[in-house]
Symmetry: C2
Subunit: 318 residues, 2 copies
């Protein structure tokens, strides 16, 4: 077993094996492992505010992996180190897309100073992403300049994404105005940037229309200035990435200048701590009353109706 | 305030106002309201196994509402009564799609013996769907023959959908084989039926290819016989709905005949009861230790790191 101060030292040296090991310990169901990671993070809070965390969300098929591949290569050419996390809550029975994580982001995965961590292999109590915040903290301690988070970002997970990142980038596809209903209000309100992806070939004109539709929809729902927030892009043609990157950088710089970044990150830490409390409370309580819960469960499976009062009595008489 | 036995009586008479009121009480954050509904359901367990619950899932833009509109009208012509629930976990800030629930399913909403309940207006502790199971039970007590559940069914919510329905129907769009990666393995493993929607006009040929791709993908991952489980359909042309409906009916009949339906529903009830325990445990514990949790939260927002040990001590010393 590796000494923990050695593990900490090696993470800070950007040792990929050490970082991977730490992430595995963070995602472990053994509380002692979690505590080791918690202490490493507590020792390095000074290092947590250097990196920029950008989430890239969008529905399946929008091309998140291609975009991250292209963006990652672009940032790598600027000598920035990159960590990529996938928090796609894709599957209960078995994780990942049909084609699998390994065949995607091929070019990016070959580069130095690039760390790619696919989705965790199983869902954990309380849902996706509870440990992901600490995974990101570990990547910050390892000194990665840019941390990219890939997420399907549809439904519940859009909140998760917002609570993990400094910048929330929504990828959409060129489509007719009618199909704008596919983009939910919530995500329209939460996203900081909009990229109309696949804006090439036959979809070029549809992409222009999509941009206008999104601008019009945002105009109805949001009050802030949204100049330089909506872009068309093609991961095939790769034109205009410098402009998008400038906009992202300027946005992050403005957040810092207006003193919004640190409070937001603290609020995020508080959000994830609360999720962590909840997990601990549930594990503790359910373990303590395992016998009673198993009995209630057996009653239901035998066809009886367990009344709410019975459950309330069990909890309040604890 | 309405008398509860009167409320129960009126629900059983399929009184839409009473059913709506009961659903609101079920979704209420006032525990006394929840208990009233729980008792009404406990009184009517004999009525819970009559209806068939079909979930219709698919990514935003696939045309779930149009499909439900067409399917609902079709079932209505067969003199079946229909309740439709939407459990789209679409938005944290404000619920629903940009075009809104009210403008969709127009034709269906005008018919008699059709009850439509849009998404709940706010997210609740523990995520989407915890109360939805009881909402469905209420619709069963009201005697609706067919209960349709519309859900985005991407990510975490696919499990929720599976735990709510007898039949899980996945809507997909015609697309090239390459884009099959958009359909996650998990949902491919969980869905009972696959409808390649929008199989009309320019997409007709792509739909045929999609069907072959899905058949091939399923062949790799699933062992059971999937004949009569994959269909192409157009909600514009509306051809072949009788065939799809026959397949759904036969599937439900086979589940009953093989004694799978009742055990599955009991397992679902146990699943939702567990979600309910968890909510009660969390509410109780967090209320009991509100002061300590508020202090920890304040510490984090002030920039301190709260160690996992502190939280563990608070919970285990309870």
């Amino acid at each position: 077993m590796m000494d923990h101060s050695l593990l900490e030292k090696k993470i800070k040296e950007k040792d990929i094996v050490a970082l991977s090991k730490a992430i595995t310990m963070n995602e472990s169901s053994i509380i002692e492992d979690n505590i080791v990671i918690d202490r490493i993070i507590a020792n390095n809070t000074h290092a947590l505010d250097q990196s920029i965390v950008i989430s890239i969300s969008g529905i399946p098929g929008v091309g998140k992996s291609s975009f991250i591949n292209v963006l990652g290569e672009f940032l790598h050419r600027k000598n920035l180190s990159i960590a990529v996390f996938s928090i796609d809550p894709s599957s209960e029975l078995s994780q990942g897309s049909i084609l699998g994580d390994k065949t995607r982001m091929t070019e990016l995965s070959r580069l130095d100073h690039v760390f790619i961590r696919p989705s965790p292999s199983s869902n954990r109590l309380g849902g996706v992403g509870i440990n992901t915040h600490n995974n990101i903290e570990l990547a910050k301690i390892a000194g990665y300049d840019i941390i990219l988070i890939e997420s399907v970002g549809v439904g519940q997970s859009e909140t998760v994404v917002k609570q993990l990142s400094d910048i929330f980038l929504l990828l959409t596809m060129p489509s007719s105005g009618d199909e704008l209903q596919g983009i939910k209000k919530g995500i329209m309100e939460m996203a900081d940037f909009f990229i109309i992806h696949k804006a090439d070939g036959a979809l070029k004109i549809a992409a222009e229309q999509s941009q206008k539709d999104i601008e019009a929809a945002l105009h109805m729902t949001r009050t802030e200035d949204l100049e330089n927030r909506i872009f068309r892009f093609s991961s095939v043609e790769k034109i205009g990435l410098e402009t998008i990157w400038d906009a992202l950088k300027n946005y992050a710089a403005a957040l810092k200048k207006e003193n919004k970044l640190i409070p937001r990150r603290r609020q995020q830490r508080a959000y994830w701590a609360e999720e962590s409390y909840k997990n601990i409370i549930l594990s503790h309580f359910i373990a303590k009353h395992k016998l009673e819960f198993d009995q209630l469960n057996a009653k239901i499976l035998n066809g009886s109706y367990v009344k709410l009062d019975e459950i309330l009595a069990l909890v309040t008489n604890d």
